[in-house]
Amino acid sequence: MILENINFCVEHGRIVTILGGSGCGKTTLMKGLVGLLKPAEGRFELYGRDISALGDNEWLDWVRRRIGVLFQSGALIGSLTLAENVALPIREFSNIPPEMVEEIVRLKLAMVKLGGYGSYYPAELSGGMKKRAGLARALALDPHILFCDEPTGGLDPITAAEIDNLLLELNHVLGITMVVITHDLPTILGISDWSIMIDGDVRGIIATGPPREMQHSPDPRVHDFFHRQAMIGNAR
């Protein structure tokens, strides 16, 4: 058992970050929330509906228009161009005619600042561009909730800041609710309205709140997470 007794609410239109050290179960939690993992016990509820109890087809129908997921690596399909990657869910799960699909794809790519890159293949892109393209695909069907798994992981600070800004902009303009899994402090402090901290030893939530308040938590586990720089200083 990795996680137990996890309960949290996300207000519509907010950005919530789920924090915690490596291996504490953040990605497992996200996979549960999007229906990729079934819980050993209990349930994953979204919009008051137990998604873990849905059959495979039922879950797919339910999830398609409600949830978008940005995976750590972008998870683009290598044999398809960026435009084809973004068009894939639109073509499959809506009755939009082809000329309008092209228009939507252009909009989505422009939205993530990849306008004109539609004919590129994922292998031709940098890490930051792959994440942005993954974001465009995750947003293809205008989902209600966007889950992002380590959106700034493995990126340089400037590219990471660009992704953070993009997420903030999309949240502001499109009003999408976002659940962001991260342990990147600038991302946590820069974009989240609310944070939830998970601990691997406790197998659950140890702190919740606005991240700037959590920074001052007396709990040493939370304090150490937010004050890594100070810890390095102490060790020296």
Partner: protein, 376 residues
């Protein structure tokens, strides 16, 4: 008035006499396709004069709605119809403005020459690839010579692993295939030979064909399909996962570390499997001969020993050695050619099998002619 019953827009005339289309519902993924169809019909009938889209009744727009408005704009431009969008709710205007960004980067179109030029480019690319493969073969030979001088450095454990994978794991399927091959050959031969009362020569026909040609070629085909593809996929995945880069920066010679154990494993496995294929094929032929030609196993084997010499079997085994080297080399070569991305692994795995089979048949043709000229 309604253009079409049930559509979420109305048409009419503005005070200036322009065609007025008033939307009465959100413009979203759910209804955009239907509205687009209606708009197409409307604009096909509308020949001239400006068009006004009234969005006062629109409370929500998503990206499909934006795409719909853009598509109507494009259509109007194509038909030289002047378009005006009015009464847009501020929150929707804000949303529409956000999407007003035009692509900044344009990829240069790739040059497309004439058919002859493209065919020429294809041939040049194939020649370059063949040259690369020959270079790779030479480098493997060089590393192999070095390894012979330092056998302690050779990765025997990996070699035995691949030997099991390519050899013993393939025995069952190879037995089945070549047993059935022996059955088919003996059966086809029996129909002809019976007419001339030459039943006994079925042993010569099947024995020689198997020993000299079919056993090594069928074994090689199985090795190309099973092991060549496995080598290419394994090395390709290692490349995608940056394992090859890691080995290189640690100072490993990739040819010695990755290629040689595989080549040696196949060189050991191929002749043994070819013998196994000979045995299975003969067994199948003996069965059919007994049933349809009334030949006893003793009579069959007696004729087989008289017809098939050690040279025939050795020739087949020599062929199988050459095939094994080619299959292992091309499998590894294709694996190293993998680019980043899962699709590239798939492409190179397919290429490993296709190239492997082609090289096997090509080498077989050359060796068959050579053996004939040498009187072997």
């Amino acid at each position: 008035m309604f253009l079409k019953r049930g559509l979420p827009f109305e048409t009419g005339r503005s005070s200036e006499g322009e065609l007025l289309v008033s939307f009465k519902a959100p413009l979203t993924f759910e209804n955009s396709a239907e509205i687009w169809e209606g708009a197409n019909t409307l604009l096909a009938e509308h020949q001239n004069g400006p068009l006004v889209l009234d969005l006062s009744g629109v409370t929500k727009v998503d990206s499909a709605g934006v795409a719909l408005l853009r598509s109507i704009e494009h259509l109007c431009r194509r038909k030289s119809i002047r378009l005006r969008i009015e009464s847009v709710h501020p929150s929707i205007q804000h949303f529409l403005d956000y999407f007003e960004r035009e692509p900044q980067v344009r990829r240069a179109p790739s040059p497309r020459g004439s058919l002859v030029a493209r065919f020429g480019a294809f041939l040049v690319a194939q020649a370059a690839e063949l040259n690369q493969f020959a270079g790779y073969g030479r480098s493997v030979l060089g590393v192999a010579a070095r390894s012979v001088r330092r056998p302690g450095r050779f990765r025997w454990r990996e070699c035995f692993y691949y030997l099991q994978l390519a050899g013993s794991d393939a025995m069952t399927i190879l037995f089945l295939i070549t047993f059935l091959l022996g059955v088919v050959m003996a059966f086809q031969a029996a129909i002809q030979l019976k007419q001339f009362g030459a039943n006994i020569y079925v042993a010569d026909l099947v024995g020689l064909a198997l020993a000299r040609e079919l056993a090594p070629v069928f074994t090689a085909m199985l090795l190309a399909g099973r092991s060549g593809s496995f080598f290419a996929a394994e090395i390709g995945s290692m490349k995608v996962g940056e394992e090859l880069d890691a080995l290189t920066v640690m100072g490993f010679d990739l040819t010695e570390f990755i290629t040689l154990p595989k080549v040696l494993a196949l060189m050991i496995a191929a002749p043994l499997l070819t013998m196994w294929a000979n045995f299975a094929g003969i067994l199948g032929a003996i069965g059919v001969s007994g049933l349809s030609l009334d030949l006893t196993p003793y009579a069959f084997l007696h004729e087989f020993y008289a017809a098939v010499t050690f040279g025939d079997i050795a020739g087949g085994l020599l062929k199988s050695e050459v095939f094994a080297i080619l299959i292992a080399l091309v499998g590894c070569f294709r694996g190293f050619q993998t680019d980043m991305g899962a699709d590239s692994v798939g492409r190179q795995t397919t290429a490993a099998v296709v190239s492997g089979l082609f090289l096997v048949i090509f080498a077989d043709a050359i060796m068959t002619v050579l053996f004939y000229l040498l009187g072997w």
